[in-house]
Each structure stands twice: as structure tokens, then as C-alpha cells.
């Protein structure tokens, strides 16, 4: 009896063991199936329609513009579409790779940095919103990103969804699971010679340029062009005379920019006139500079001025000397020169930055007459506060033309005045239409206003 009980107990144990093993095997099998079959069902969305790829107009090449009509699923109020994924290939049937993403409700995309003259083909994938939770960790995502760098165009949710669908994460783009458009192409990118978007700027620029040319012609023809007096210029000669009477030098600072800055050019032009007066009065000029090319140009200018004043022997290269390109190193040296030499007059004509107030305040402290001119809006307040006369913005260029009396400069200044007049006229007309549109609410007047504004929105 005992043996019988033992045999039954053993049999029961064996049965339990077999059942347990069977359950475990079934679990393992179901796990394997989970890896091989999709866990997440990706919703099949309608593809985009009227998908077209063409060379981007009005560009310098290397860009292709893609346009499409939204997927039907994107037009619904709570649409299922999260984005449109752009695929590109140089082969119409294979090797498509993700190159970019357009947001849902967007119906265009510009593919950039392309090789000119190469045929490209495109597909657009209507990509669904992921309804579940992100299950992949960053540690799981990173190797996938390394394997497929193009996935960086997608976000972590998208990658998680794709991974849940299939371990071969890119298969979804090939096996017709998503709404994939027809292939558009071949299309080549090409550079255009003319950018039609800048036509308005061309017309405005040409108008001003033609005015300048006409006025230069008039000035060369001997016609006297009127320019109003500029306050600071009247003081220049007095300031030079004061330095002569006091037997002190004149300090000229041409700013800290190079000769590629038009303000430096204007400053050097005024220097030519000042240097001529200095040569005539036999006064000294000291010009520390922070750019080597400015030094060369300034030496040429002063040399020429001394020559035209009949005093070539009085010219010396030491009048213009290089300090350093470093902004505050230059300022430290100029301040030192100011307090040691105590010039009677300081000119600051050119492009200035943070050094403007430091120099102008030091010049003020030594009692020098100071005349400044710059078109740097942030520095003008300092010059206005610390100097005796300030040429504000365009007055610097006008002074350059006024003093030189050259037909080219006078003509260009008069031409710019034509540009200002045109600006004033259009501002008045535009403001009148804009006000009427705001007060009456008329769509027609608003349209005219927008048209005028569009001419000046290059």
C-alpha cells in the first residue's frame, strides 16, 4: 500500500513537472512570436496626392521644391497624421532614404544641399501619430540611430513605434504599410541667373543709381549742385586754426574698421581736406590707426594733401602710425597719447564701437575741441554727449562730399536725396492707404496697402 501511494505521488510529481515544462515552453514560444510579429498595428493612412518635385525657382542652385495636396487623413479635424516624411533616391525604384520631415498640414518642403545637375527621385510618406506610450529606452534607441542615422529626422516616439512594429525598423518604408506617395522625378537642381523676388529691389536700386549717374554728369558738366551747410563742417577749419594758434597737434582717429567699411572711406576722404588745411597752416597731425591698410591709405591721402598744398617736404610717414588691431589695446594707446601730447583738436571720423566714449571722454578731459562723425547708431549718443560737434549718420558721408567737392561724391549724395524723396512719397501714400484701410475696414484698400508694402519687403 505504501509502495502504491509512493508510485501515485511520484506520478503526480512527474505530471506536475511535465505541465510546468509545457507551460514554460508555451510562454517562450509566445515570446518568440511576439518578436517576430508586429506588436503595434500601424494605421494605414491615405497617401498625399498631386505630389510634384521641381527645381526651386530664384535660387543659387542645390535646392529642390516638393509640393503636394494633403492626405485625406490630415484634413480631418483630429487628423491621424503626425508628419510627412520625405524620402530621396537617385534611383526611381530603390535606395530611398529619409532626408527630411514636414509637419502635418504642411504641403511643401525644400530639399537643400543637393548636387547640381544630378537626377533625384522623391517619395512622401504619410506618417501616423503614435497612440501608445514610448517603450524604448534611450539605450535601446541609440544603437538604432547609429545603424540608421537618417532616423534622427524622426523623434523618439516615432522610432519606438517603428521598432515595435518590426525589428527591421526601415522595412515599414518599403512594405506598403504606410501611405506612400508615387515617385516624383527625375528632377535636377539648377542655379538661376536672375532672382525675380528681388525685382523690386533692382528697380529701386536702379532708380537711385540712375539718379546718381545723372547728377554726376551734371556736376561734371559744370552745373553747381546745391548742398546745404552742415553744422560740424563750419567748425573744422576753426578747430585746425585753434590748434595752430596753440602750437599743438591735431589727433585724427579714423575708427577701428578696415578700408572695406564705407565709414572709414568717408573719414579718410575728410582727412584729405583736413590734411591740406593742416599743411597750409603748418600744424602737426598725429594719426594712430588700428588697421594696416588704413595706415597705408591714410599715408597716401596725407602725402597727396601735402603735395597739393605745396608742402611735400613737410610730410612724414610718422604722421600715421599703426598701434594694434585689438580694440581696447588701441584705445589704451590712444588715451595715453591724448594725455601725454594734449592735442588741441581731436577728430573721430569713421566706424566706432565701444571705444567711442572712452576716447571722447578722455579728449574732453584734456580740453580739446572734438569733432566726431559716425554712422554707428549705438555710438552716436556718446559722441553727441562728449564732443563739440557730431556728424550724425549720413552727415558723415555728406561732409565727405561737401568738403571734397568731387563731382562723383556730390552726384552720389544728390542721387541719394532722390532716393529719400521717393521713400518719403511712398511712406505718405502707404500710410494714407493703411490708415484708410484700418478705419473703413475696406478689403480693397487693404489690398492696395499690402501691394505697396510688398514692394518694400525684399
Amino acid at each position: 500500500m505504501l509502495r502504491f501511494k509512493a508510485a501515485i505521488f511520484t506520478l503526480l510529481l512527474l505530471l506536475l513537472f511535465c505541465l510546468s515544462a509545457a507551460a514554460q515552453t508555451a510562454e517562450e514560444l509566445s515570446d518568440t512570436a511576439a518578436l517576430e510579429e508586429p506588436v503595434y498595428e500601424i494605421p494605414r493612412l491615405a497617401q498625399v496626392t498631386n505630389f510634384e518635385a521641381k527645381d526651386s525657382p530664384d535660387d543659387a542652385g542645390g535646392e529642390i521644391e516638393l509640393t503636394w495636396d494633403l492626405s485625406v487623413d490630415d484634413k480631418k479635424e483630429d487628423g491621424l497624421v503626425s508628419k510627412y516624411v520625405v524620402l530621396r533616391s537617385q534611383n526611381p525604384t530603390s535606395d530611398f532614404h529619409i532626408v527630411g520631415v514636414a509637419n502635418h498640414r504642411d504641403s511643401s518642403y525644400i530639399d537643400k544641399n543637393l548636387k547640381e545637375g544630378t537626377d533625384y527621385y522623391y517619395k512622401i510618406v504619410t506618417f501616423p501619430k503614435y497612440q501608445g506610450e514610448v517603450r524604448l529606452t534611450r539605450e535601446e534607441i541609440d544603437p538604432l540611430m547609429e545603424q540608421y542615422p537618417e532616423l534622427t529626422e524622426l523623434d523618439i516616439k516615432d522610432v519606438s513605434m517603428l521598432a515595435e512594429y518590426d525589428r527591421d525598423i526601415m522595412s515599414v518604408f518599403d512594405d506598403n504599410i504606410l501611405g506612400i506617395s508615387r515617385v516624383a522625378g527625375p528632377v535636377k537642381s539648377r542655379a538661376q541667373w536672375f532672382n525675380s523676388k528681388d525685382l523690386d529691389t533692382l528697380i529701386i536700386g536702379l532708380t537711385i543709381c540712375i539718379s546718381v549717374v545723372i547728377f554726376i554728369g551734371m556736376a561734371r558738366g559744370g552745373r553747381k549742385l546745391f548742398l546745404r551747410r552742415i553744422g560740424g563742417l563750419q567748425a573744422i577749419e576753426n578747430a585746425i586754426g585753434r590748434a595752430t594758434e596753440m602750437g599743438k597737434s591735431i589727433l585724427f582717429i579714423p575708427g577701428i574698421q578696415d578700408m572695406d567699411d564705407v565709414q572709414t572711406v568717408a573719414g579718410i576722404t575728410i582727412l584729405g581736406r583736413i590734411a591740406k588745411t593742416i599743411a597750409e597752416y603748418d600744424t602737426k597731425i598725429n594719426m594712430p590707426v588700428s588697421r594696416s591698410i588704413v595706415m597705408t591709405t591714410a599715408r597716401e591721402t596725407i602725402k597727396e594733401a601735402y603735395l597739393s598744398a605745396g608742402r611735400p617736404d613737410a610730410y612724414s610717414d610718422d604722421m600715421v602710425h599703426y598701434i594694434t588691431d585689438e580694440q581696447f589695446g588701441y584705445v589704451a594707446a590712444v588715451d595715453g597719447i591724448m594725455v601725454r601730447e594734449k592735442p588741441a583738436t581731436c577728430f573721430y571720423l569713421g566706424a566706432f564701437f565701444a571705444e567711442s566714449l572712452i576716447m571722447a571722454e578722455t579728449g574732453n578731459s584734456i580740453g580739446a575741441i572734438q569733432i566726431a562723425g559716425t554712422a554707428m547708431p549705438a555710438q552716436l549718443p556718446f559722441f553727441v554727449a562728449a564732443c563739440d560737434y557730431t556728424l550724425i549718420g549720413e552727415e558723415l558721408f555728406a561732409a565727405s562730399a561737401y568738403l571734397s567737392g568731387e563731382p562723383k561724391q556730390l552726384g552720389s549724395l544728390k542721387g541719394q536725396d532722390v532716393g529719400k524723396f521717393i521713400a518719403m512719397v511712398f511712406i505718405i501714400i502707404g500710410a494714407v492707404f493703411a490708415t484708410l484701410a484700418a478705419l473703413t475696414g475696406s478689403e480693397d484698400i487693404l489690398e492696395i496697402t499690402n501691394m505697396i508694402k510688398s514692394w518694400f519687403s525684399a
Binding site: 523690386d200 578696415d258 591698410i293 601725454r340 549718443p381 500710410a431
Partner: protein, 281 residues
Amino acid sequence: MGSDLIGVWIAAFLTLGIMSFLYKDNPWYKFSEAIFVGLSAGYWFASLFWQSLHAKFWANWSPAVQSLFQGQFDYNLLYTGAGILGLMMLLRLIPPIGWISRWPLSVVVGGTAGLYLINYLVSNAVRQIGSTIQPVVTFPESIGWINSGGVIIGNVLVFAVLIVSLGFILFGRNTTIDLPTPTKLFFFLIALVACALGTFYSLSMPLNLTGLIIFMGVFCGLIYFFFSKEHTGFFGGAATVGTWFLMVTFGASFGYTVMSRMSLLIGRIDFLLVEWLKVVN
């Protein structure tokens, strides 16, 4: 650690040396100035050599020449032109042919003038005109009572400015508007009544006059910078109003920039107290 400490002490010594200029010019400042100027000039020389001559010229031109010897044309060979222009600059060192150095100068000046022409035209002129075209007055929709109060005060101020501006244009120092004084007075009184009515109207229905201020500022500013006509009469008055706008702008800019300069000073004081003296954590 040791070298850091020495560096901090040197920096503090030179910082205080430069700041000593606030007292007066002195040998400590002269020493610091000479160190600053000499070091920066040397640094800039090395920097320009490696960043311009080497990185932009040699690194492009040298491979192009090598490929030319291999029978291939590389567009970077065009850098030869830049190299020749650079050499021409150095011809200043040979006085008999020093005049050749003017040619590269003219290329630099002319080239950059042409390059910037469109950029400046678009950013400084064309776009500014487009931005100025806006309604001179608008009716704000459903604004709160605080905002209404602000708009009313703003309107009263704007009307006051308009009256003063008109008065200046008609009776200002440089004005030679050729009208008899009673007529000027008549115009001024009409403007005064209109502005008073406008102010009264704005109290009941606030208008947004920001557009008017912008319009006046731009228009009068443009007149100030118009050089083909003497600033007399209407032009003189409008130009004076333009000057006011400029000065108000400069005042605001002055305050703003001074505040940013204070941050530079705070940076140096911070260095002295925290890194050097370590009296503040």
C-alpha cells in the same frame, strides 16, 4: 595650480594698472598699456597669419597648384589673383614702384562697396520703408481699463507734441514760412482746436497713435537728412522735430548702452574680488 595663481596675480596687476588711468597718467598705466598694445599686436599678427594667410589663402591655393601640375584645373587657382594683390601691397616697401600698392587698395574699396550696396539698400532702406507703412491711427479692440488709461495718457502726450511741433514749424527760430503772422496764428489756432477735439475724442474712444509717432519720426528724420534743401521754413521746422526724435532715441540708447557697460565693470570687479582676493564666494 601654481601657474594659475601667477596668471591671476599678473591679470590683477594689469587690471589695476589700466584702472589707475582714472587717477591720472602714471608709469604703472604706461607699463600696462605697453604690455597690452605689444601683446595684442603680436597676437593679431599670429592670428591673421594663421586665420587669413594660411587658412584662407594657402590652404586653398596650394592644393589647386598641385592639381594643376597633375593636369587638373581647380577653381581655387583663382586665389592666385588674391596672392598677387597681396604681393602688390608689399611693393610699398620698394619706393620706386610703391605706387602699385594703390591697385589692391582700389580693389578692396571698390569690391566691398559693390558687395555691400545691395545689403545696405535692402536692410537700411527698402525694408525700413515697408515697416513704416502702417496705419497712423487704429482703434484697439477690447482693451482693459489699465491699457485704456495708458492709451489716453499717450494720446494726450502725442497731441501735445503735435501742437508744440506745429508751433515750432510755424514760429521756430529758423522758420521763414512766408505767411503773415495773423495767418500763422489762425492755422495754429485751428490746429490747436483740432488737437483739443482729438484729445477729447480720444478720452471717450482711445485711439492707438503709435503709428503716428513712427510716421512723424521717420518723416521728419528723413527731412533732417535731406541735403538738397536748406533747413528753413517748413523744412527747417520739420528737421528740428526730426532732431528731437533723434535726441530722444540717443538718450534711450545712451542709457541702455551705459547699463551694458556697467556689466563689463562688474565683470572686472568680480574678477578682482572673487578670483584674485577671494573675499567673495
